[in-house]
């Protein structure tokens, strides 16, 4: 009997139209838990480094976390893993809502999609009944609109639907997958569109077996109040009307300038009033008492959900007001566009026009105002019309396709991917490492456990550390000694980066929301879930004997496997460069030293490649063997491929 997981994946080949229910190896659960971890193993095994992301051989994997479908509150984020045409490398996203738990109740831990359908289809999973159905009548329909139409068509209001909009259908690199109040961003939608998979609808009514159900339920029941009462978890900023932090500190336009002085009381009043007017409701995800997502009804637009920082990204990129942001989200959410990267692509287009690189010939009837220009460009991009065809490939590729000096305007991408629009003063050691070495493309998916700033008052610092259950001991000492406006030491920076990213690898295998753990300790050190209490939840659910060290090791294994996937696709130290102007004052020597130390600490070569010793210690021998075979790691005598042994014929 398998506990907390179903033990089955759904394998869909869209080229052949085949559907298989495949039993999975329980040893992989012990090694990787689930979610992103077990998905990485499938990608390593089946999608080689030569597979083009747009090839039918690329896989698109929807994974439940190991705690989905258990009573543990806030375990609802579904992991989506594939290869990105934008970066050429591993692409990962997570989305909240209800999809993962529903999938597990339907009897599957994952949906593994390969191949490519000849025309638009959707997948209907109803427990044991799974169908690939025609979706050509949904062509061009919005993402949430499609979900509603599918539920109507299936007469199944309780189905959970993940769907793509026009952007993915036209293989726009910034395309998302939309589900209920959540979105999978960071470039996974483009592969769903490329495979001509318009949507996946799931309805599950089966039980999920739990190893120690009563104990787990009791432990989980205690978490509702804890999470609800904790003011330092959930999406804190979503509920704030005082946007001073964002508008003052984040860069406007194409990650260009700070706009200090923009924020004032009058504006706060106006913006608050507007938000209250357009908000229908605050909503939450499956089995979580936090309400992090706004349901928005903007005049003339279909209702949509606003989450995270997308409340301001379009407004700031276009130098517009909040009203414009709510307005354009009504369009971009239905097209299915990433609220982080898309505004930067649009602002980049506007900059090129202002610089004369794009002309009226490229952009006929281009409006004069910021808002008008953004609406104009969004339409060109999702239809891949004219210059929109280049812009649809993201800033990095568009700059090179457009040429004429456009490359100089590509200043905020790293590893070919748009980064958060932050331009700061002095290089920050832990942040340098997190940006440089992260595999998850966006800093929000890497940072989050260790505080961003030191506390000046010693008593306050002590108070902070006293209740800091989430932190391994060494960090308490370092935080106590950390004086404001000083760098943590290189050693400390390495550990901070390590802890921060490790917690995200934990969440993305367990299925817990980052707003309850990996992203949320950095403000007050009071994350409800952390490395010290998650092992018990997992142990009770799965029936394995897991402690903090064990969970950390699983996260490290997943982190190294994903590193290896990218290394096999060419990732090296030379790629690990945050945008040049991310900080005004850089310390090139210290930065290189940081990389040296981080790689050494991780057990990687000085070029960022996990060593054989490291890989083997994490039971990733098959990776080190592959690296040696490919010449990525040097082979030693013991590990050189053995001569074939001659077999005597009788």
């Amino acid at each position: 009997m398998r506990y907390a997981e179903t033990g089955f994946n759904l394998e869909i080949d869209l080229t052949r139209g085949s559907i298989e229910r495949v039993a999975t190896d329980p040893r992989l659960t012990a090694l990787h838990l689930g979610g992103q971890g077990t998905a990485a193993r499938i990608l390593w095994d089946r999608v080689g480094p030569d597979v083009d992301p747009f090839s039918p051989d690329n896989h698109l994997i929807f994974s439940t976390g190991i705690l989905h479908g258990t009573p543990v509150p806030g375990a609802n984020r579904t992991s989506v893993d594939t290869f990105s045409p934008q970066t050429g490398r591993y692409s990962h996203s997570v989305f909240g809502g209800f999809f993962g738990p529903e999938l597990k109740h339907a009897g599957y831990d994952k949906i593994v999609v390969r191949g490519k359908s000849p025309d638009l289809v959707y997948l209907w999973i109803h427990n044991d009944k799974v169908e690939i159905r025609d979706a050509t009548h949904f062509r061009g329909k919005g993402a949430l609109e499609t979900a509603a139409l599918i539920k109507e068509e299936l007469r199944e209001n309780e189905a959970q639907v993940a769907a793509v909009g026009l952007a993915a259908e036209n293989r726009v690199f910034m395309a998302t997958i939309e589900h209920a109040n959540s979105s999978a961003s960071r470039g996974v939608g483009v592969i769903m569109g490329d495979k001509k998979l318009k949507a996946i609808a799931v309805r599950g009514t089966n039980d999920v077996n739990i190893a120690h159900p009563a104990e787990l339920f009791e432990k989980s029941a205690g978490m509702y109040q804890k999470i609800y009462d904790n003011p330092d978890c959930g999406d804190l900023m979503a509920h704030e009307d005082d946007e001073e932090f964002h508008v003052n500190n984040f860069a406007w336009g194409n990650a260009r300038d700070r706009n200090k002085g923009f924020w004032n009381e009058e504006r706060e009043h106006e913006w608050t009033e507007l938000s209250n007017r357009v908000r229908m409701r605050w909503t939450g995800c499956y089995n979580c008492p936090k309400d992090c997502h706004q349901a928005i009804s903007y005049p003339g637009r279909q209702p949509y959900f606003q989450k995270c920082y997308s409340k301001l990204t379009y407004a700031m990129a276009a130098y517009e007001e909040l009203d414009f942001n709510y307005n354009i989200l009504g369009v971009t959410q239905e097209y299915g566009l990433d609220g982080f990267s898309t505004p930067q692509v649009l602002a980049f287009g506007v900059e090129l026009y202002d610089a004369g690189i794009l002309t009226d010939e490229d952009l006929p009837d281009f409006p004069a105002d910021g808002a008008g220009r953004f609406f104009y460009l969004v339409d060109k991009i999702v239809r891949r019309e004219g210059v929109g065809d280049a812009l649809a490939n993201g800033v990095y590729h568009a700059a090179r396709q457009i040429g004429k000096g456009a490359e100089a305007f590509d200043h905020n991408t790293m590893k070919k991917f748009e980064q958060v629009p932050l331009k700061l003063g002095m290089v920050n050691y832990p942040y340098f490492l997190m940006y440089a070495t992260g595999e998850k493309m966006n800093i929000t998916q890497i940072e989050g456990s260790f505080p961003q700033v030191a506390i000046a008052d010693l008593e306050e610092r002590k108070e902070f550390v006293k209740g800091w259950e989430a932190a391994p001991e060494r960090f308490k000492k370092w935080f106590m000694e950390w004086e404001p406006r000083t760098h943590p030491s290189i050693e400390e920076a390495v550990h901070i980066c390590d802890w921060n990213e490790t917690m995200h690898y934990v969440d993305d295998a367990v299925g817990t929301c980052a707003f309850l753990s990996s992203f949320t300790g950095q403000w007050a050190g009071r994350a409800p879930y952390h490395i010290h209490n998650l092992p018990e939840f997992v142990s009770l659910a799965v029936g394995m004997d897991l402690d903090s060290d064990g969970l950390w090791e699983i996260a490290a294994r997943n982190r190294n496997l994903i590193r290896a996937i990218n290394v096999r696709r060419g990732l090296r130290r030379s790629d690990e460069k945050p945008p040049e102007d991310h900080w005004k004052k850089r310390e090139p020597e210290a930065e290189q030293k940081l990389l040296d130390e981080y790689y050494a600490f991780k057990g990687w070569t000085n070029d960022g490649i996990p060593t054989k010793e490291k890989l083997d210690s994490l039971s990733l021998e098959y990776v080190s063997e592959d690296f040696i075979r490919r010449g990525i790691l040097p082979g030693s005598e013991e590990t050189a491929p053995a001569e074939p042994v001659a077999v005597s014929a009788e």
Binding site: T70, P213, Y224, W282
Partner: protein, 188 residues
């Protein structure tokens, strides 16, 4: 025939358990479904599966519909369910979403057997301070309260035979049962 007959109705005060629903506060998390299914699984808390829940949040995201509906009493005519809803700040006593048959009936079928499920307010000995759906609803969409009600109760307990005959009559109709009794009597 010595079994007691006839019942005399007397008025008695009784505590009626109610759950008030404030639709404006529902965030659609469905924790109520999860907890309900856990409590009603056998053994207790052995299974969590919203499909087995006696409360469902009916959600229509695009129309801002978030309505927790409980598996109330079945009534052939008008609804006497204990639902109390708040919509846009206004309180509606009992459910007045419809005038005829309860739309929630279809939702509440045990997925394996197809048998109907019914909310029992988490009856337990010792009594819980509030039902589980309310316990986990931290946004206060569901709140539990008790009210006193005067009800007519049957003073005397009815015998087994009378109860048996009543159910036979409700199944086959009084005429058929009387016919059968007459037939059997004449034989003996």
């Amino acid at each position: 025939m010595t079994e007691a007959k006839g019942t005399t109705a007397v008025v008695e005060k009784r505590i009626v358990k109610e759950i008030k629903v404030d639709l404006d506060k529902c965030i659609g998390c469905r924790a109520c479904e999860m907890a309900c299914s856990a409590f009603h699984s056998k053994p207790r808390f052995s299974i969590t599966n919203p499909a087995r829940s006696r409360i469902r949040v009916v959600i229509d995201e695009l129309n801002d519909v978030y309505v927790p509906i409980r598996a109330g009493d079945y009534t052939p005519a008008e609804c006497t369910g204990r639902h109390k809803y708040t919509i846009n700040g206004k309180e509606y006593n009992e459910c007045s979403f419809c005038g005829v048959s309860c739309p929630s009936r279809d939702f509440f079928l045990e997925p394996d057997s197809g048998l109907p499920l019914k909310c029992d307010m988490c009856e337990e000995d010792p009594t819980l301070d509030e039902p589980w759906c309310v316990k986990v609803c931290r946004c206060d969409c569901l709140t539990y309260y008790e009210r006193e009600e005067e009800v007519e109760v049957e003073e005397e307990k009815r015998g087994e035979m009378e109860l048996g005959l009543e159910s036979l009559m409700s199944k086959y109709g009084a005429d058929k049962v009387l016919d059968a009794i007459a037939r059997l009597s004449s034989k003996s």
